[in-house]
Symmetry: C2
Subunit: 346 residues, 2 copies
C-alpha cells in the first residue's frame, strides 16, 4: 500500500468535487491501485483547515461547507487567515493538488503554491492553467532540479485524455502534428450556428443562458482557452517551452453565418481548431476557425464536446473525443494523475 | 539506462516490422525513455538465430531475409531446427515478444512459448490473440504466480489504444460499458455497402481484391475477430475471465442492403459492434450488427478504421478512433507495451 499525503489549494467546484471523490472512492483506490490518499490540509481564499499533520475528516468538512460554511470556520481545525503557502510550509505532504482559479495576469496564487511545493519536494497535480502557461520553463526547471513531477491532465481538457493519449498511448511513436477542438463553449456556439442557421450573437446568448458560456466569454470566444491548452499539450508532448505569445490566435467572434454556409456547401464544417504542426523541423502553433472535411475525425465532435487528433509516424492518426466537462470530470482527471504518479516510475 | 533482453518468436510481417522498428529507433529509445532493447534471439518456423546470449545483429539479419533468406540459414548464428521453446529455454532474456500467427484451435505454438517464458520469469508482450482467448485464466494465473506481466496491446486492435485508454486514461473511473468497432474488414464492407448501395457479396469481393479481406474471410465476417478482441479487452479492464463461448456473436454475412437502407431512413448507420454491458452487476458480451444514431461517437468510423467507446461514471463517455492497421502499426503497439513495462511499476 502506498500512502500519499495531499494538500489541496483551492476549494471551489473542482476542489470540492475532488475531496468528495477521493473520500467516496477511498476503499476502491486501496483495492484497485494499492493507493491510500490522505488529505492533510485544504487552503481556500480566507483560510485553511488542517489537523497538524493528521488526515482531515473530509466528510465532516463537506457537510460543513454544504451548509454554507467555509474551511477556516471549521470547529477546532479551521485556521482563519492561513494561506496556501502557510499550509504548504507547515504541513508535511507528498503532493500539492492545485485547484485555485486560472489567473492569466500573474498566475497567482497558483504560481506561489506550485513554487513553494516544489521547493519542499512535493509532486504537483494541477487543474490550474495560469502558472503553467505563464511560467512553464521556470516551473519545469525547478521541478527537474528537485526531482519532482508536474501532472496537468486537469488543465489540458480534464476528462478528455489529451496528454495521456499523446504520452502513453503513442509512446515510441513520433507525433507529426496535433489538432484539437479543445474548448467546449466555442464548439457549442459553432454547432448551434450551423444547426439553427443563427448568428454568432444569438448562439452566444443561448450558450450563456444555458451556463455553457460565461457572462464575459472573452477567454473562450477569442480562442485564448484553446491556445492555453494547446501550449501546454505541445510543450508537454514535444518537449518545448512555448509561451502564449508564440501562438497565432484567431477566435470565433468574427465568424459569420455565411462562413458556416460556405463551408457546408463544400461539404465541410467550421470548427475552432488548435494546431501544432511541424514544417522543416520547426513547430508552429495556431488557433483558428477551420473548415474540416466531413471525413476528418474531429468533424463530428459537436456541441460542448472536445476532441484531439494526433498524426504519428508508426501508429497513423489516433483521435480521442468526449470526456465529461464538469467539476467531477476535472476532479476525476486530478485523481487519475495521482494514480499515474503511483503507477509510474518516472 | 534500463536494458531489456528480448526473444522474438514469430518472424512474419509483424515480427519483421518489430525488429526493424527497434533497430531504427535504438538511439531515440535510449534518449527518450532510457531504454536499451537487445534482441537476443529470433525463432521462426524452421529454426532460430542467436549468438549465445549476445545481442544479434538486426541489420544483417534483415538484409538476409530481405533477400529471401530465413533466420536459421544465417551464417554462423543461424540454428536450423531450433524451436521457440528451445530458444526460450537456452537463452537468457527479460521479455518474450510473441508474434506467431493466431491459432484459435489450440493456441499453438504461441501458448507453449508464453507458458515456457512465464515459467522462466519473463514478461510477455504479445500480438497473438490465440493463446490469450483460449487459455486466459491459465496464462494469467501462471503470470501472477511468477510475478510476470502480460501486455497485449498488439492483440487488441494494435495501434488503436483500446487497453491503454481503458486502463490508463480512465484510471480511477468505473467503466460502465464498452462499445467497439474492432474489425477493419467488416467495417470496410458495411461502409461500402452503404456508399455504393451494393450487396454484401460485391463489397466483400472488392475488399478481397484490395487485400483488406482474406480469401477465407470467416474470422472477420462472422464476427469472431471482434469477439476475440472484445473478450481480451473486457477481461483485462474488468478483471474477468470470459471465454469465447461467453459471447453472443452475430457477424455481417446476413446483412442485406435493405437493412442498411432501413437504418439510413431512420438517420442511423449499421456497424458491427462488440459490446460489454453491465446489468444488475452482470457483464454480458455481444457482437452484432447494430444501427447507431449518427450522433454516436462511433457512427463516423468508416472504411477499415476502428474505434472504441467507454462510458464511465466520473469521466463521461471517452472514445478513441484510428490507429494504423498494418504490420508497422502492430509493431509500434508491441514497442509501446515494452516502453510501458519500463515506465510502470506494476
Amino acid at each position: 500500500m502506498i500512502t500519499k499525503r495531499l494538500i489541496l489549494c483551492g476549494f471551489g467546484n473542482v476542489g470540492r468535487a475532488f475531496a468528495n471523490l477521493i473520500h467516496e472512492r477511498r476503499n476502491d483506490l486501496k483495492k484497485r491501485y494499492g493507493l491510500s490518499l490522505e488529505l492533510v490540509a485544504i487552503a481556500d481564499i480566507d483560510g485553511a483547515v488542517h489537523c497538524n499533520n493528521e488526515p482531515i475528516p473530509i466528510d465532516t468538512i463537506m457537510a460543513h461547507v454544504e451548509k454554507g460554511g467555509t474551511v477556516e470556520t471549521m470547529e477546532k481545525i479551521g485556521r482563519p487567515g492561513m494561506s496556501g503557502i502557510d499550509a504548504l510550509t507547515r504541513i508535511e505532504a507528498d503532493v500539492l493538488i492545485e485547484a485555485t482559479p486560472t489567473n492569466l495576469r500573474d498566475g497567482e496564487p497558483g504560481r506561489s503554491h506550485i513554487m513553494t511545493a516544489l521547493d519542499k519536494g512535493l509532486n504537483i497535480v494541477t487543474a490550474n492553467k495560469g502558472p503553467l502557461v505563464l511560467y512553464y520553463k521556470e516551473i519545469l526547471d525547478l521541478a527537474k532540479t528537485k526531482g519532482c513531477r508536474i501532472s496537468m491532465s486537469a488543465a489540458t481538457a480534464a476528462a478528455l485524455p489529451t496528454l495521456d493519449v499523446g504520452r502513453l498511448c503513442l509512446a515510441g511513436a513520433d507525433i507529426l502534428s496535433i489538432e484539437g477542438i479543445l474548448n467546449g463553449t466555442t464548439n457549442y456556439i459553432l454547432t448551434r450556428m450551423r444547426e439553427e442557421k443563427c448568428t454568432y450573437d444569438t448562439a452566444l446568448k443561448e450558450a450563456q443562458e444555458m451556463g455553457i458560456a460565461e457572462t464575459d466569454p472573452t477567454l473562450d470566444v477569442e480562442g485564448y482557452d484553446t491556445r492555453n491548452k494547446l501550449v501546454l499539450i505541445t510543450n508537454s508532448l514535444m518537449d518545448q517551452t512555448f509561451g502564449l505569445g508564440d501562438v497565432e490566435v484567431k477566435g470565433i467572434t468574427g465568424v459569420r453565418l455565411d462562413d458556416i454556409d460556405e463551408a457546408s456547401k463544400k461539404g465541410k464544417v467550421l470548427k475552432l481548431v488548435g494546431t501544432a504542426s511541424i514544417s522543416d523541423g520547426q513547430i508552429s502553433l495556431k488557433v483558428e476557425p477551420k473548415a474540416l472535411e466531413m471525413e476528418h475525425p474531429l468533424a463530428t465532435v459537436n456541441y460542448s464536446e472536445k476532441g484531439i487528433s494526433y498524426l504519428t509516424d508508426t501508429m497513423g492518426q489516433v483521435t480521442v473525443t468526449g470526456g465529461k466537462s464538469s467539476p467531477v470530470g476535472a476532479a476525476a482527471a486530478l485523481l487519475k494523475d495521482l494514480i499515474h504518479l503511483t503507477l509510474m516510475a518516472s
